[in-house]
């Protein structure tokens, strides 16, 4: 996504461009996972999100609703969106489960293309870890 600002949400994932609203959802999830947004903290409003990323407020709303549907955020009437208790744990669990599909599968596909065996890949991982 190109915008004059540098506040761009995460673009690609799994080699496919995520729709903008899902990018917004993922950005908020990242904040929770990274500890920048604690449980029971108030999440930024859709208008703030739209202004920050220079996107349509309806898109921001769609992203937030996605998180509400997923139980990551909940709505306090008249006040705003808040991070649900247990959201961070749930996200960590979900991402750990998806880790293999999201990160390992593309890496292994690339390894296959390069002619690396599984043993080669494991050796590279250990090298990266200790290096």
């Amino acid at each position: 996504m190109v915008s004059y600002s540098t506040n761009e949400p995460i673009g690609q994932a799994d080699g496919v461009e995520l729709p903008l609203f899902l990018q917004i959802a993922r950005a908020i999830e990242n904040d929770i996972v990274d500890g920048l947004l604690a449980e029971e903290d108030q999440a930024p409003s859709t208008n703030e999100i739209a202004a920050f990323h220079r996107i349509n407020p309806a898109t921001a709303l769609k992203g937030v609703n996605e998180l509400v549907a997923g139980g990551v955020l909940y709505k306090k009437r008249g006040i705003g969106m808040f991070v649900a208790t247990g959201a961070r744990d749930a996200l960590l669990r979900r991402r750990r489960t998806d880790f293999a599909a999201r990160f390992l599968a593309p890496a292994l596909a690339e390894a296959r293309r390069l002619g690396l065996t599984d043993a080669d890949v494991i050796a590279l991982i250990q090298e990266a870890h200790h290096g």
């Binding site: 407020p57 309806a58 709303l61 769609k62």
Partner: protein, 243 residues
């Protein structure tokens, strides 16, 4: 999925737009309605100076008791006609471009075109009468009306000039109005001429008929018919004008 639209659809009676349309058509400080008066005053000044210097001037003549010039009133008449295209090409287009109802814009601009002539005539008349009252028959008269010569005595000023204005000038007003709207509708000068020539011919024939028939029923019906037909034709063109 989209947010709730909070803006209500604005509704407003068409005719409540009239003051705003008039302001838009007349221009800043209503200059599009008033500029003929400025030209008229300048012409009056020029006529006065030339008569004072005793130089024979176009339209001026020397009476036994005073010096008269009908040039300014003639200029006011012409300026009044020239004001019509200005009202349409700039005023009406602007008002319609702002979003006002086209029917209201048409009605206001047509009324302004016709009533402006009447108003200018009243001003000219009033100036002539005031001047007459102030100066008697001596001195320099610059606000004399041409019609006072056509219709004879100065007492006939009222009858003479009104007949002239209302009866004989209407076809000219209509012609100018139709060509202005025709220009808006079709643009290029070619179309302007195409409309103007038959319109002027019809107008001339119309005037000739009326001079002969005068205030007969036939004359009046013909007059009203041409009036109605012209306005209907102008509206048919104006509603299709692209802005």
């Amino acid at each position: 999925m989209s947010a709730v639209l909070e803006l209500p659809v604005p509704t407003r009676s068409r005719w409540s737009q009239v003051p705003a349309v008039l302001a838009a058509v007349a221009g800043p400080l209503a200059w599009r309605l008033l500029w003929p008066l400025a030209v008229w005053l300048v012409a009056a000044g020029v006529a006065w100076v030339s008569l004072a210097g005793r130089n024979p001037y176009d339209g001026g003549h020397v009476d036994t008791f005073g010096r008269w010039s009908t040039l300014p009133s003639g200029i006011l008449l012409l300026a009044g006609f020239a004001a019509i295209p200005v009202l349409w090409v700039w005023g009406a287009r602007y008002a319609a471009g702002l979003g006002h109802d086209r029917g209201v814009v048409f009605a206001v601009t047509t009324a302004a075109s016709v009533l402006l002539q009447a108003a200018l005539h009243v001003v000219s008349l009033a100036a002539g009468l005031l001047e007459l009252r102030a100066l008697g028959t001596g001195g320099i008269h610059v606000f004399a009306l041409e019609t006072s010569n056509i219709m004879g005595t100065h007492d006939g000023l009222w009858n003479g000039s009104w007949v002239f204005a209302l009866w004989y000038l209407t076809p000219v007003i209509l012609t100018v109005l139709l060509t202005s709207v025709g220009f808006l509708r079709w643009g290029p000068l070619g179309l302007l001429l195409v409309l103007a020539i038959p319109a002027v011919l019809i107008g001339a024939a119309f005037v000739t008929v009326l001079v002969d028939t005068g205030f007969t029923w036939f004359g009046v019906l013909l007059y009203l018919g041409v009036l109605a037909g012209s306005i209907a034709g102008a509206w048919a063109m104006f509603r299709c004008v692209a802005l």
